[in-house]
């Protein structure tokens, strides 16, 4: 056999091997869902079955509650509408926005708590949507991606968010009326949000415990929040849009001021 003949046959082998490897890779790519993550550690559980279960429970729970509300009977409206369909929709959208700001007359009484609540809500969503690892997991689950905030900024915001949450809890416990009105749902919902922010800031500082333990606790706390979300007061995060929107829609229908 000549040298060129040998080289040619090696070439053909290489092409065949490459084809085989490429097919094998394509096969394994489609069977990613078949790979089971290890569950022998807390982190393995959190990233594996824990994550799957939490997402599915959250999706099922959200659909349950939304369907359960949207399919309820609504009182029939016999009067004529005072606004066009577009006007009604616009009224709904406007009310979602305007109800976020308290009326001036109430500001002296509720200004502080609304301010703290705003700090908390803005901070929480800035962390959730601006933190690089959060964008990463959403990207992995849905394919969406957008630019992240600098890590130091997210850490500072986390600190402010934690402080606001503690202040709000203190008010709930100290104020006699708030204390009377509060139910276990309120406290559990507070805890379900507080724990992810707390474990998140500890994880970013890589302090108190090992990275692996902190990561496991952080992911588990987020999974707790996801599981609780559809069933308690946290559901306001979804329903606020529906309820304000529906109210605005009906007010516009009636021609009432919003």
């Amino acid at each position: 056999m000549t040298l060129s003949g040998i080289l040619q046959s090696l070439d053909q082998d290489a092409v065949a091997l490459y084809g085989y490897a490429r097919d094998a890779a394509a096969q394994s790519a489609t069977s990613i869902q078949a790979i089971r993550p290890e569950s022998s550690t807390l982190l393995g559980f959190a990233r594996g079955i824990g994550l799957q279960a939490a997402v599915l429970i959250m999706v099922a729970g959200l659909c349950w509650r939304l369907a359960g509300i949207l399919l309820l009977r609504r009182r029939p409206q016999h009067a004529l509408s005072r606004a066009s369909w577009l006007g009604r929709v616009g009224g709904g959208a406007a009310m979602i926005f305007t109800r976020s700001f308290p009326r001036r007359t109430f500001l002296p009484r509720i200004g502080v708590s609304v301010g703290l609540s705003t700090v908390f809500h803005v901070g929480f969503f800035a962390i959730l949507l601006g933190g690089a690892p959060h964008i990463l997991i959403i990207h992995q689950l849905t394919g969406l991606i957008w630019p992240d905030l600098p890590k130091g900024v997210v850490v500072m915001i986390s600190g402010l968010t934690l402080a606001a949450m503690l202040a709000l809890l203190a008010r709930r416990i100290a104020h006699p009326v708030m204390r009377l009105l509060s139910t276990p749902d309120d406290y559990l919902s507070w805890l379900a949000v507080f724990l992810p922010v707390l474990t998140g800031i500890l994880l970013s500082g890589e302090t108190i415990a090992s990275y692996e333990s902190l990561l496991a606790l952080h992911i588990l706390s987020v999974e707790l929040m996801m599981i609780w979300l559809p069933f308690g007061k946290l559901m306001h995060g979804v329903l606020v849009f529906a309820s304000r929107g529906a109210m605005g829609f009906n007010f516009a229908r009636k021609g009432a001021a919003t």
Partner: protein, 356 residues
């Protein structure tokens, strides 16, 4: 080399002065995170140490661990020490084979009862009586229990021997386990890694020969001096992690600039090993320096951590199909609840005199 020759005599015979042995001891104390003042005592102990028998059994393995240790030997005192300390029985390397090898093994065990070190690489298949890995007709399971019984200590070399390794990956058809799952009454040192960093084995052996004890171990029985910190803490790309500069794909601008590989699946933050500082091939490089994220190869079950390219922030795929099924179940439940509420309202309305 007679049975009574000390390591110091052997080195002198080969033309190495005590000064070279002291230099080696200085390097070893640095590697083992001992104070430099321990070096003269270590050198003196090494010099007067007698041959220590090491039996090396290879079980369900790829031979990568043995290869890495062999290839790492440059003509230094370290490799001479390996010659001196080892290696009475090792199937891949020894000249004897078959029945002669079996006889050698029995003789070595008998001659060094209670004093030999047992080094294991490869996992041990335990399912079906261990029939999935046999040597000379005997299962690895039986060999381990017999030979470990008279050993002074057991060294589990590589992740397979330490924790089960790749044979243990899901679905683990052979029932592979690590040494520590089978041996409970002997001191065990795990030297995990796929393959392990060669300097770790020499460090452990030097410590054992010099001081007669095994080095301090962590809760996974790994030498603390080498497995006390994570790759994340040793990594030269750490400043990029802290600044939030991540490579998004293997050939983007960030990757070219040497940014952190967290988003490409690096398991550095949860992996304890020495390769971030000691590196491979005599300090040449290590996976992150070569542009690939850490696989976490010195941690148990690293093959089943959900994929090498899934970041620590991510986890298992949920899948749109599964989400769809969950949504459908949710809608069905909610609809049922709403319908029962609606029919209750209707029933109330049907009753005369009752307000809807």
């Amino acid at each position: 080399m007679t049975a009574e020759e000390t390591l110091g005599d052997m080195l002198a015979r080969r033309g190495f002065s005590r000064r070279s042995l002291l230099k080696f001891a200085i390097a070893m104390t640095s590697s083992l995170a001992l104070p430099p003042s321990a070096a003269p005592a270590m050198a003196a102990n090494l010099a007067k140490s007698k041959r220590r028998s090491v039996i090396w059994l290879s079980f369900q393995e790829c031979t990568g661990c043995l290869e890495t240790l062999l290839r790492s030997a440059s003509p230094t005192i370290e490799s001479l020490m390996f010659d001196f300390i080892s290696l009475d029985y090792q199937e891949s390397l020894m000249a004897a084979a078959g029945a002669a090898a079996e006889r050698t093994l029995r003789e070595v065990v008998a001659a060094n009862k209670g004093e030999y070190l047992l080094a294991i690489d490869g996992s041990i298949p335990a399912k079906d009586g261990g029939v999935y890995s046999l040597t000379g007709g005997r299962s690895n399971l039986d060999m381990l229990s017999e030979i470990a019984a008279d050993a002074k200590a057991v060294l589990a070399i590589g992740t397979c021997a330490a924790y089960g390794g790749i044979p243990k990956a899901y679905p683990n058809p052979t029932g592979a386990v690590g040494v520590e799952d089978l041996v409970s009454n002997k001191p065990i040192v795990n030297i995990p890694g796929c393959p392990p960093v060669p300097e770790v084995l020499s460090g452990v052996l030097v410590h054992f020969v010099s001081f007669g004890t095994l080095p301090e171990l962590d809760d996974r029985k790994r030498p603390l001096a080498y497995f006390g910190t994570t790759i994340h803490d040793q990594c030269y790309r750490r400043p990029f992690y802290d600044q939030g500069k991540f490579a998004k794909s293997f050939d983007d601008e960030g990757a070219r600039q040497g940014w952190c590989l967290f988003e490409l699946g690096c398991k550095g933050p949860i992996t304890h090993n020495a390769c971030g500082s000691l590196k491979w091939n005599g300090g040449t490089s290590f996976p992150i320096e070569s542009g690939h994220g850490c696989l976490g190869c010195s941690e148990p079950d690293f093959w089943d951590k959900g994929g090498f390219y899934t970041s620590l922030a991510g986890g298992s795929e949920v899948g749109w199909r599964n989400a769809g099924v969950a949504a459908a179940i949710g809608v069905a439940g909610g609809a049922a609840a709403a319908l029962s509420a609606r029919s209750k309202v209707k029933a109330d309305k049907a009753e005369p005199g009752i307000e809807p």
